[in-house]
């Protein structure tokens, strides 16, 4: 057993873990953070995506011991109290989830994308989601959810700068279909 110290969702944790224990099992079983899911055993589906020191990583391909000294954010730590992260809001507003199983990983990947690219094109979003599989939505509404969140984050940023804030688009009126013409 090896002793590790990690900060998870802002709380310092110290535990003895088996050297072979994957980070995802540490989060789920030791800390009870079951929002991070396991969908495959080949690091392909992205359901286990969390942030490690601010970067999206697949927690099924990282050993818990590798997270020693790191800061981890899971889906449970993304909202600030009752205030959802704009990406979480976007998924609800645009019906970006159905069964919800891939959703935490999708949201963690999308927040990582928007941190690095606040104004992504549809192509950027689809490319950024290559490591996350959804079997329910056909990705259409996931792309729209992330576009919605990007818009909301830009609007919020403008509001902080004192610029006028537009109202949030809703499902019925939002039209972000960027149809590709051949």
């Amino acid at each position: 057993m090896t002793k590790i110290s990690v900060t998870v969702n802002g709380t310092a944790q110290t535990h003895e873990v088996e050297p072979r224990q994957l980070l995802v099992y540490y989060l789920r079983e030791k800390l009870g953070l079951t929002g991070t899911h396991i969908g495959c055993d080949t690091s392909s589906c992205g359901a286990c995506t969390v942030h490690m020191d601010g970067m999206a990583v697949k927690s099924c391909s990282i050993l818990a011991v590798q997270a020693d000294g790191c800061e981890i954010t899971t889906i449970e730590g993304l909202a600030k109290g009752d205030q959802l992260h704009p990406v979480q809001e976007g998924f609800k507003e645009c019906h970006g989830l159905q069964c919800g199983f891939c959703t935490p990983g999708m949201i963690m990947s999308a927040t990582d994308l928007l941190q690095n690219n606040p104004d992504p094109t549809e192509e950027d979003i689809r490319h950024a989601l290559e490591g996350n599989i959804c079997r329910c939505t056909g990705y259409h509404n996931i792309v729209r959810s992330i576009q919605w969140a990007a818009e909301k984050m830009k609007t919020s940023a403008r509001a902080l700068d004192g610029a006028p804030v537009s109202t949030s688009p809703v499902y019925a009126s939002v039209n972000l279909n960027q149809q590709q013409q051949v």
Binding site: L33, G35, H37, C45, I75, K92, R126, R135
Partner: protein, 801 residues
């Protein structure tokens, strides 16, 4: 307060827990004293189990118990049953060999992953480590994986009592002599040999079960990632374990997708339930993705020869099909129904074809069971029809739109005009097939359609456009009809509407949501009908102790059947409520009208609210004489017919001339799923279906090698659509209400998956023809290699790469 909820894109009530990581799937549940199971599984597709040595495993730290097939057999447990019986053409009962929970020594394993022992330990890791130490003496036997090869003389036998590996043969349609004659008299016959390849459903949540026997109450609890908790309880109690149903509670908590694969009663469900009593501790088993590929029922896997005959004017005169359906090694819960009553009965399509005949051989092989996967039989039927008619248009040099339209069944509403009686047993409820086709073509532009069809190439890319139309039978199903067809259960649904004394409403439904958003859609129906706020309604499902009974969710049935059961109970609530209201308002119930959550005496302003009536029902001091207190009604709804959604899909593709790579550029879908309660949720269902149908056309196939090894059993090897494989979908709806259920709904879960596959393949074939490569067919999935090879041989032989 407006309570017109039906037809509104209400945001989902269930979303908050999922987007904050608070969903509760089976693997998230931890019970005190819980143990973990790991299975010892066959590495061979076919092998005799000579002996099993568990002694080293037993000595491992943390191991609680080990069971083998011999333990299960000596407990008198035979195996899991199938839920549908189909007879041979000669009337003999189908072959139904046992499907043991663990294969005993002396017997044979029949597909890779077939289990022979289970290790139960204090931790997941300990169970897995110990399972590696179990020594099995396997005697490998020859295996067969193709349905066609399995029927050949001298093929390895999967089950000794199923000669020729035939589970059953079957036919449907007009007498074969009449169909043969119509084909012979046809001016043109289009012939194709098809492989509708084997698919893996791939719900992202792997199956997970927790069995828990409680000694104090002498009750079992099974948590299971299922689409139908009551069905699992019935099958497991009555047919597998022989334990009384009232001593078993089955819970289906949050379930991470199903697509058919979580309908069936799997051996592991029964095993963890049974074993938890042996060890007096809860047992959890969560499959790995590798196990999911090997064990979860697969879909499709048909090999067909199909011929469509036309007269000189292009009218379809006959359809003749011979299909080999691979059912895998064991008969899964619905397996016999899929290639028969969900496939053969859909061969009328949208066309007036006067003579139709399907002959079917349903075959055992050394592969995992094949059962209903999204669409189930209907995609296979649609694929045959829509590929044939599109190829016929190319061969006869006719416009594929016009050729379809001239053969369409004329519009009928099922009310003024009767339903349409097909040649293959069904009566369609209502339809306007020209409407969806015209609208889909309009969305692309007819001139654009023809221009794209004829355009040969641009920038080294071949451009192609293809369409398909489809009809499906869903809203499954009238019990008497399916009973006559071999179903061993009814296919009604139950609903209880319990009005609480304060006027809040708890609704218990036998439908089960695993992504479909029932909690929102059903609450919209109830809020709209009762004229109360959605916040005052709770939808409860997935618990066999809470819900009276249920047949679950599959076959696009939840709203059409489950929703109708809810409406029936609401009607009973309102009928009794009117009696109470009349008593309180001192009038006759006939003088009352109900709207916006209150009963009003017609023509007056005298009224009483729903909440006041509810309170009166539970505090019956001033109350109609002889009327029982309470306001709580259950209903069972058994549909009068299937429902028949239909639609038209158009795909625009770009094929790289150098590499054969297909890029889907646009996808248009116009679907008619009847009335719509929540357009946002229905859009989502269509999107998801489209992605899976497109996945079949371009990417997906489960590949067993000739020894029965699954060669692509992981997400690294099995190609599913990812975000950058798909465009934004352009979807619209037409509404032709279902005439025989109270909501007028038809069902939307499978539509996208049924229509999209042939549209994409037709588009690729069109691209190749316009580039001078007159290939009749390319076997799905249309990988770059297959398309490239097809382009290299521009003759008109069938490409079967």
């Amino acid at each position: 307060m407006s309570t017109n909820y039906i037809g509104q894109s209400v945001k989902r009530l269930e979303d908050k827990r999922f987007i904050t990581g608070k969903g509760r799937y089976t693997d998230d549940i931890k019970l005190p004293g819980m143990t973990y199971a790991s299975f010892v599984r066959s590495p061979y597709a076919h092998a005799r189990v000579n002996s099993i040595d568990t002694s080293a495993a037993k000595d491992m730290p943390g191991v609680v118990a080990i069971f083998t097939g011999d333990d299960i057999a000596s407990a008198g447990i035979v195996g899991v049953p199938t839920g549908w019986q189909v007879n041979f053409k000669n009337g003999d009962t189908m072959k139904e060999p046992p499907h043991p929970l663990l294969v005993p020594t002396g017997s044979t394993v029949k597909h890779i992953g077939d289990p022979v022992a289970v290790i139960i330990a204090d931790s997941r890791e300990a169970a897995f480590d110990a399972s590696e130490l179990v020594e099995v003496d396997w005697e490998e036997l020859p295996a067969v994986v193709s349905a066609l090869k399995a029927t050949e003389e001298g093929a390895p036998q999967v089950h000794p009592d199923a000669p020729g590996n035939l589970a059953f043969d079957w036919e449907i349609g007009n007498p074969i002599d009449e169909v043969n004659e119509a084909i012979e008299q046809s001016a043109h016959v289009t012939t194709l040999e098809f492989v509708n390849q084997r698919l893996v459903p791939n719900a992202i949540e792997p199956r997970a079960y927790i069995g828990h026997y409680d000694e104090v109450s002498d009750k079992y609890t099974l948590y299971t990632s299922t689409q139908n908790p009551h069905l699992i309880r019935l099958l497991m109690c009555a047919f597998v374990l022989g334990i009384p149903e009232h001593k078993v509670r089955v819970l289906g908590p949050d379930v991470g997708g199903g697509f058919g694969s979580k309908i069936y009663h799997y051996t592991e469900e029964a095993l963890v339930t049974w074993a938890s009593k042996q060890i007096r501790r809860p047992i959890k088993w969560t499959e790995t993705r590798s196990e999911a590929f090997m064990l979860d029922a697969h879909g499709r896997d048909h090999i067909s020869k199909a011929e469509m005959g036309f007269d000189a004017d292009g009218n379809i005169k006959a359809l003749r099909i011979k299909t080999y359906a691979n059912l895998g090694a064991y008969l899964s819960t619905f397996a016999p129904a899929v290639p028969t009553y969900l496939h053969g009965t859909l061969l009328q399509g949208l066309y007036t074809t006067p003579k139709i005949h399907l002959e079917l051989s349903a075959v055992f092989t050394n592969t995992v069971a094949v059962d209903a996967y999204r669409g189930a039989g209907r995609p296979e039927a649609t694929y045959l029809l829509e590929r044939l008619i599109d190829l016929a248009a190319l061969e006869m040099d006719r416009d594929p739109i016009q050729l379809r339209k001239q053969n369409f069944i004329p519009s009928f509403d099922g009310v003024e005009q009767p339903g349409y009686q097909t040649q293959v047993a069904l009566q369609y409820d209502s339809g306007n097939y020209h409407g969806v086709l015209d609208r889909a073509v309009e969305m692309l532009g007819y001139e654009e359609f023809r221009r794209l069809q004829q355009e040969s190439s641009r920038n080294g890319k071949l451009i192609g456009v293809g369409l398909s139309t489809y009809i499906e039978a869903c809203g499954i199903a009238p019990s008497a009809v399916v009973g006559a067809l071999g179903a061993r259960a009814g296919l009604y649904e139950s609903a209880q509407v319990r009005v609480q004394p304060t006027g809040k409403v708890s609704v218990y439904t036998g439908s089960h949501s695993h992504g479909q958003g029932h909690v929102t859609t059903f609450a919209q129906v109830v809020a709209d009908k009762l004229g109360i706020a959605m916040e005052d309604i709770d939808i409860i499902h997935g618990d066999s102790d809470a819900v009276a009974f249920g047949m679950g969710t599959y076959g696009s049935r939840s709203l059409a059947v489950g929703g109708s059961a809810i409406v029936k109970s609401i009607e009973k609530v309102l009928e009794k409520g009117a009696k109470i209201a009349a008593h309180k308002l001192e009038c006759s119930a006939d003088d009352l009208e109900y709207a916006e959550g209150k009963w009003t005496v017609k023509g007056t302003d005298k009224s009483i609210s729903f909440g006041d009536v509810a309170l009166t029902a539970y505090v019956p001091h001033v109350y109609p004489q002889g009327l029982e207190p309470g306001l709580d009604f259950s209903s069972f709804y058994d549909p009068a017919n299937f429902t028949y959604p239909f639609g038209c899909h158009i795909a625009v593709v770009e094929v790289d001339k150098e590499t054969g790579k297909v890029k889907l550029k646009r996808f248009i879908a116009v679907d008619d799923v009847g009335n719509v309660i929540n357009p946002m949720i229905v859009d989502g269902q269509i999107h998801g279906g489209l992605a899976q149908g497109i996945g079949q056309a371009l990417l997906e196939e489960a590949i067993y090698d000739e020894n029965g090894q699954l060669t692509n059993g992981s997400y690294m090897d099995y190609a599913m659509p990812r975000a950058d494989d798909l465009p934004m979908f352009e979807i619209e709806r037409q509404v032709t209400p279902c005439p025989h259920n109270p909501l007028g709904v038809k069902g939307a879960g499978e539509a996208g998956c049924i229509g999209s596959t042939p549209a994409v393949v037709n588009a690729v074939i069109n691209a190749l023809w316009s580039g001078g490569h007159k290939v009749k067919d390319i076997r799905m999935p249309l990988t770059s290699e297959r398309v490239w090879r097809a382009m290299q041989s521009s003759n008109s032989t069938i490409t079967q790469s």
